[in-house]
């Protein structure tokens, strides 16, 4: 039972296809299926390649330009498509102290603390609501779901954060958007799918709820928790709006806000102005390097949890 829940094989996708030797090989077509036409294959491959290029080509330009020397950038007249004598100078300058280094550390700190906090609170709450018939779980559930119908509104939220004295503190970047009810509902739906026999037998053996959660429920739900953790982490890493309205101190700004200043207003990071004017460092390369720093963590992490993304969708709302 648990095994089935954990693995959740897609019956249609895998069932009718025989075991295959390599993950590179295509499974055999069923006999009733006509072989694909050359035109059809070409069209399909063309469209998919086009879609992938639409994603990858702009990113390629950004990465290559960030690695290019000032000479190359001057020669090409701006963005670089074909890599030539690559250099890490932009990254070295950015990460050797100064505005961007600080912003990277701020973003990492807020993301780590925020994600840990949000995931813990969400898992606890989801488990607390996962046993049918427990006292008050309906009331709490409705209170949580109320948030999906009526947004609190930007102005009153801003006034509240100000009143609580959170302005110019990092708590203002974490607390107001710490829990996503959607994520709690996804976790809860998953926890409720865990066979009650497992938890009941543990309870008979004298385990408390915290222990059951820690030793049975969480290990069985690792995949979905990983997805929710990634969602929270991406949320914190990508956030800039709260920082833009709650932080006045420019030295506290996270990376995304620094990127806004650089890209939208065509500025150069504080402290790098001299290096750009004097040396062989291009302002454009600096800008692109900040961008790469801002997208690298999510681009590296997300493929690891990719095969579980489906579990992060609200299973109750959209049935697979």
């Amino acid at each position: 039972m648990t095994q089935r829940l954990l693995e959740r094989p897609l019956p249609a996708a895998r069932g009718s296809r025989p075991a295959r030797p390599s993950r590179w090989a295509a499974p055999a077509r069923p006999v009733w299926e006509e072989p694909p036409t050359r035109a059809g294959l070409t069209a399909k491959a063309g469209l998919l390649v086009l879609a992938c290029l639409a994603v990858l080509f702009p990113l390629w330009i950004v990465v290559v330009t960030s690695l290019s020397s000032k000479k190359t950038i001057t020669e090409t007249g701006g963005l670089v498509v074909v890599p030539r004598d690559l250099t890490l100078i932009a990254y070295r300058e950015l990460l050797s102290g100064g505005q961007v280094t600080r912003a990277v550390l701020v973003s990492l700190g807020v993301t780590l603390v925020g994600t840990l906090f949000s995931t813990t609170v969400s898992v606890l709450c989801a488990y607390g609501l996962s046993r049918p018939g427990s006292v008050g779980h309906r009331l709490i559930l409705f209170t949580l779901m109320g948030t999906m119908f009526f947004g609190a509104g930007l102005i009153p939220t801003y006034l509240l954060v100000q009143t609580l004295g959170l302005t110019d503190t990092y708590l203002a970047l974490i607390l107001p958007s710490a829990v996503s009810v959607f994520n709690i509902l996804v976790l809860r739906a998953f926890f409720m799918g865990i066979s009650p026999e497992l938890t009941d037998s543990a309870r008979i053996d004298g385990a408390g709820d915290l222990r059951i959660l820690w030793t049975i429920v969480i290990p069985l739900s690792r995949a979905v928790i990983a997805v929710i953790t990634l969602f929270y982490a991406v949320g914190y890493w990508s956030a800039w709006f709260n920082a833009s309205i709650y932080l006045n101190d420019q030295t506290m700004m996270p990376l995304q806000n620094v990127l806004i200043q650089l890209a939208q207003k065509q500025e150069i990071p504080v402290g790098l102005g001299q290096a750009v004017k004097a040396g062989n460092l291009s302002g454009l390369a600096v800008q692109m390097a900040v961008m790469v720093l801002a997208l690298l963590p999510v681009a590296v992490l997300s493929p690891f949890v990719q095969k579980h993304f489906k579990k992060g969708m609200l299973t109750g709302a959209v049935k697979g």
Partner: protein, 319 residues
């Protein structure tokens, strides 16, 4: 969200005993509950400033400032509803929504059909990883990427200039801005939208295809008579949910580009509230505009869910 409705059928246990029994469970929900109460329900109450001429400087903190600010009844709502720039924002919001519906909505379905037809697991996983990637980028990154492609110093303008043509800058052109925003949305999230449709496609009973093939249906007729009917409930549901959320169109995305193209092309309801409230410091006016949006949004969500229930689907909540 399947709850087994056992509450009513259980023998009555005294509340005190049930409280003691579920003490740990209740305690676990406290942190999340407190956060939601403080950062959602308290601000909902804070919307009373929409009925005031709120002045933050009349007192030292927000709560006493509300107590001491004068009440003006519905005057702020009168101002909002007779403000032409509010109605411009409404118009822009609806145009953005319709463009998304027409151009964005079908893309994930088409992509899902393409990805589903990929049989080699490695190739498929690679394509999926590429398509999902932009979803994890912040709007700041997405817009900066578009700047590098379609902006005045972007790769297209740069190449055109090299060849002796005139460059262009789509990022600051109000005329094409609505399409640019739609394209940015597609680039960021169309790939992510594939997931639900892939799940639905994987759940189709393969024997239906075989039976259809036995009856002489070619691949197009199989797609029309087997695949699309299997996707129909998901399509209908997503459509309904999107309509319920119609007034929320790309707040961060538009806020970031508002300066470049000007409010005429970029102002939507959310950015209107931001501008009037946080920039012009007209808190009560902005709160009133936000409240109007919230109330219309509530009606839309509830009716959209009603529609979902009528179609025999679950919405965000159950019947």
């Amino acid at each position: 969200m399947k709850t087994h409705d056992t509450t009513d059928r259980r023998p009555r246990i005294p509340l005190g005993r049930r409280l003691r029994r579920d003490r740990a469970l209740l305690l676990m929900t406290v942190p999340a509950l407190v956060l939601v109460l403080v950062f959602h329900y308290v601000p909902v109450l804070g919307n009373v400033v929409a009925f005031q001429e709120y002045d933050p400087y009349v007192s030292t903190n927000g709560v006493t400032a509300i107590a001491e600010s004068p009440w003006v009844g519905l005057a702020q709502f009168d101002r909002v509803l007779s403000d032409p720039s509010f109605w411009d924002a409404v118009e822009n919001t609806l145009v953005f929504f319709l463009l998304q519906l027409v151009f964005f909505f079908p893309v994930p379905i088409a992509l899902a059909l393409l990805v589903h037809s990929l049989l080699r697991p490695r190739v498929r996983a690679f394509v999926q990883a590429v398509l999902y990637l932009p979803h994890f980028f912040s709007w700041v990154i997405v817009i900066t990427v578009f700047q590098q492609v379609f902006g005045g110093a972007g790769i297209i303008a740069q190449t055109l200039r090299e060849r002796g043509h005139e460059g262009f800058d789509l990022m600051t052109d109000p005329g094409t801005f609505k399409f640019l925003v739609t394209a940015e949305g597609i680039w960021k999230d169309a790939g992510w939208g594939v997931i639900v449709f892939l799940a639905a496609l994987a759940a189709v009973d393969r024997s239906l295809y075989e039976a259809a093939a036995m009856d002489g249906a070619d691949r197009w007729r199989r797609m029309w008579h087997v695949t699309l009917p299997a996707l129909r409930p998901v399509i209908a549901l997503l459509l309904v949910l999107r309509v319920g959320d119609a007034l929320t169109v790309g707040f961060e995305q538009l806020l970031l580009q508002r300066d470049a193209v000007g409010p005429g092309a970029a102002e939507v309801l959310d950015t209107f509230v931001w501008w009037t409230g946080l920039r012009s410091q007209d808190f009560s006016y902005a709160a009133a505009a936000g409240l109007v949006k919230g109330l219309v949004g509530l009606v839309l969500v509830v009716s959209a869910n009603k529609a979902a229930h009528l179609m025999g689907e679950q919405g965000v909540y159950r019947k």
